[in-house]
Symmetry: C2
Subunit: 387 residues, 2 copies
Amino acid sequence: MKYASWTNDLRQSFLGEILKTASYTETISFAGGLPAQELFPNQELKECFNQVFEEDGPIALQYAEARGYEPLRQWIYDRINTRSKLKTTSEIIITTGSQQGLSLVAQTFLDPGDIVLVESPTYLGALQAFQGYRPRFVMVPCDEEGIIPEELAEILTKCQPKYLYVIPNYQNPTGRQLSLARRLEIIEIARRFNLLILEDNPYGELRFEGEALPDLRDLYENVIYLGSFSKILSPGLRVGFLVADQKTVSYIERAKEGVDLFSNNLTQRAVYKYITSRNFKEHILKLRKVYCERRDTMLQAFKDYLGSDVQVETPKGGLFIWAKILKTKDSLEFLNYAQAEKVIYVPGTFFYPDGRRSNEMRINYSCSSPEVIEEGIKRLGRAVERI
Amino acid sequence: MKYASWTNDLRQSFLGEILKTASYTETISFAGGLPAQELFPNQELKECFNQVFEEDGPIALQYAEARGYEPLRQWIYDRINTRSKLKTTSEIIITTGSQQGLSLVAQTFLDPGDIVLVESPTYLGALQAFQGYRPRFVMVPCDEEGIIPEELAEILTKCQPKYLYVIPNYQNPTGRQLSLARRLEIIEIARRFNLLILEDNPYGELRFEGEALPDLRDLYENVIYLGSFSKILSPGLRVGFLVADQKTVSYIERAKEGVDLFSNNLTQRAVYKYITSRNFKEHILKLRKVYCERRDTMLQAFKDYLGSDVQVETPKGGLFIWAKILKTKDSLEFLNYAQAEKVIYVPGTFFYPDGRRSNEMRINYSCSSPEVIEEGIKRLGRAVERI
């Protein structure tokens, strides 16, 4: 068989491997980006599915429109429209998780060879989503405040990208938040170069400290925004959404029809039922509290078991800590030591489109109990001693 | 904004319009391809979702593997392996409806400009799925027995397509079944030219008469096979599957990770629960019986109300009748008359990649009661009188 050309340059599917580790038992996995499953509102969601079956059973099981369940779109419209100026729900489309949003945007905007700007490092799954459309990635250098504006401006004098992909809040993999000053600077530059921004915000609600910062879409009109229920309700349900101007949404809708016709209709209705009839706000507050405790446990464990062998950034929200093991130059190689001690993480290399090696790693704290976090970091400390 | 080049040559999204008509009340729509929603096993599915919540709640709501829920893959493996020789479940992947299977195959095989062979006419949604990857379509002439082997052989001497897309059973839009003799001839030709076949079989189980014919994948190794629960259980749940050799499935899995990570995990488990603990076989027998009655009602109504003004093919299964209105040359124009009488169908033009006009139409009988079918065809008769 003769496959499409993109299949020639596939790197190992590490993301898939990560998801598999969810089911390992002996090894402690800090590799996944999983929410804590003991916090899923299992009973309430069950009741919501029951209600949908009872009230709308047949129609919830039928074909539906690509754009998504209208009341859910209306809810999203009301919720995100506090700061900005959407005109109608036709600027919103429901997606099969926000991962599908990434893929649909790529399909709608990219011809082979087009340039996409990404944060350096960036979300592995976004690279996978975009790769199917064969763009060239240009990495925008970042520091602890996010994208460095001068670097972005410099890059834009040299090339004309289709869009800049950015996760402003508690970024995957670094946990970093783009500061307000940086947001304003970046928007100013984007405006100057008429740059389309793809803003991905799955973690924004998981804020542990400080005030919520304005979304880029509140500050600039040339933004496609992706949201998701995966981190704040359940990823297994695959419900996300995309917000853009009407024309873009109409193209995205067309693309979505070709891709999967529409997203699970029953589930959209059950999610709507949950968020409108249960205490969703309280649920999110609970997630924040538990994840913040886990973050603190992990930070403390790093101090206790690795001390000056590690350099750790403190995320203000989200699911991840970005750490550098100072005694190694290559966190992919170091993974062998870690695995020998039965603990895993994602080496930094996978978050760079150029595959550069470094001593960085992404460590997840959301889906492990404090005890497991402590034990896992202890093992990581032993792994460092093996070097 | 600058969109990808495929957006330049979009035809009207008729498929989306069709799905919308599902909610019209005054107009009788024979345009959709909807299953009868009064036949969905609503109560039983509700119980199955409940069971999944009770038994596996948290894990069903969590991230999962791109390839799909293993017991469901195993069930598919056992079911389709009666005639053929799958070696492992790694030759199967669950998709978000078989529409996603179409899109993933296109992504995995097509570079821009590659040739795809399609039946003439063919499923509109497949054209939409493939179009995102900008192939050139070559139409293979068909008659009432399906693809004409001589025409296929002739085409293959002139070009090297990436694959042939075919719906062998109760085709969409024609309702035709590829005869056994034709299957054997086509396979012989495919073998000679080393042609990959993409076999789409959403309607195969909806057989009203005759014996089941062997799938192309039972007769030939170079086949990617798509199956779906949309027509035999519920389309709103978006569960389909793809069967291919391991290497192809591994590429498809990679593509799927980028596209939506994995299919709704809760739903896969509930579908598995339903098909293994309820009387799925009896449910399918019931669908066959009801749809067969509706087909007969529609055929009779055509005789009664249109007589010699129409030429109708009798499908042996599935959801559609393919009809030619003899008093018009263009069923798209005739749609204006039909709409004036408050009845709609899909004009043939939408099923031809070259958009050719003809007097053909696709008429769906599965989702209307016998009374509505009779009334709708009566209206169609009145529309013909308006010509």
